[in-house]
Symmetry: C2
Subunit: 226 residues, 2 copies
């Protein structure tokens, strides 16, 4: 089962939100101000987490009127996004897309990247997506299909990843020691329909990125994996 969590960071464009809903037909959960984004776009959802103090009267009323929505109160020891993640896992989600997980609060972004690590441990395929970035965490070698993003970047998460190799790209790498936050592995580009990512141990954060909102730049929505 696919799940979509919309969190309270920078709202995704309507185009991106609608595209994810159309393609994944997900079970939809709102974390915090993500509820307003879904209400504004007229998209029904099943679960909402937060206290919704920040919602205006109309939105609070709209939320109360949706009898089917299960509302979880705000928790003290973890973020609303984590609570929504847990609810998605309880629903049996095998794949989760997180929108609204990026924005001006970088501590929230890091916690959401931390959720990717939790998802790997739970054998859930999770993607952190916004209009400029698609972020996945890899724990094994794989072939990555070329998508609509012009750039392909990598960073180790945690310890340095030894023997990292990358083919099918403009700047290939062989037996590279991939560190966290390396400038060398930023802004690579696909040169083949698939990029081959090879490593034997560690966690690799893969970022497919775009300077401009990637859906706006395209004449038609591409068929891409996320």
């Amino acid at each position: 089962m696919n799940a979509l969590i919309v969190a309270g960071g920078t709202p995704p464009s309507g185009a991106l939100l609608q595209e994810v809903v159309r393609r994944k037909k997900p079970f939809i959960l709102a974390a915090d101000r993500g509820a307003k984004v879904l209400l504004d776009q007229g998209i029904a959802f099943e679960v909402a987490v937060g206290d919704f103090d920040s919602l205006d009267e109309d939105s609070q009323g709209a939320l109360r009127d949706r009898a089917k929505v299960t509302i979880y109160p705000r928790a003290k020891d973890f973020t609303d996004t984590f609570a929504a993640y847990r609810a998605a896992r309880e629903q049996g989600a095998k794949q989760i897309v997180l929108l609204g997980g990026t924005g001006s609060r970088i501590d929230h972004l890091l916690a959401n990247i931390g959720l990717l690590q939790q998802a790997l441990a739970d054998s859930i395929r999770m993607t952190l997506l916004d209009d400029h970035n698609q972020i996945n965490l890899l724990n094994q070698s794989q072939e990555i299909p070329k998508g609509p993003f012009p750039y392909l970047s990598f960073s180790a998460l945690g310890q340095t990843v030894p023997h990292f190799s990358l083919q099918g790209v403009r700047y290939p790498l062989t037996d590279h020691s991939l560190r966290f936050g390396s400038g060398l592995t930023v802004s690579n580009e696909f040169q083949a329909p698939f990029a081959s990512v090879r490593f034997k141990e560690g966690l690799v954060l893969m970022l497919q990125t775009s300077d401009e909102p990637f859906l706006e730049a395209l004449p038609q929505v591409p068929d891409w994996s996320f």
Copy 2:
């Protein structure tokens, strides 16, 4: 010597940029589109790194007219921000503030967090700053003075940091195993003039954050450490 690097991410507000210049009296370097931010604000700078293709005619002319500016061409194997960092280090900078190091490209953000790690190795005190976040990387225990940001968050960088303790805050911690991207250590708050951060090994990313631009929310610019 203090240095300021303005990079090509989301431009800092004029208030923040001017405040850093006023307080640090820094040697100023521009990376990529950071040059335009400085030109627009009428702030003189010494070094510029990039190809400046993206600058309009007027800005390119203004850049050429500044005879004192040393211009480095764009490099292939590292980011313009890294090149500016290296130039600051060569100038003998002991403290560096990076503005414009955050924005929509999360791969660039991670590379800039990677620069904090490089700076620690070079014994340079470096801060990644924007209107919502002040980010520092700590490799030893210290007392953190309360600043203008309402939230205080922590994440391990790399391996889990054992025996992490935190006092002087609303939710203190003792002998905590600090992981990367932990939701538990997000959005803590100062409850004393100083927060005490204690740990024996590892790297701790400290994020002081604000939902609203922190300088706008304040009646007068506070005296804070960055």
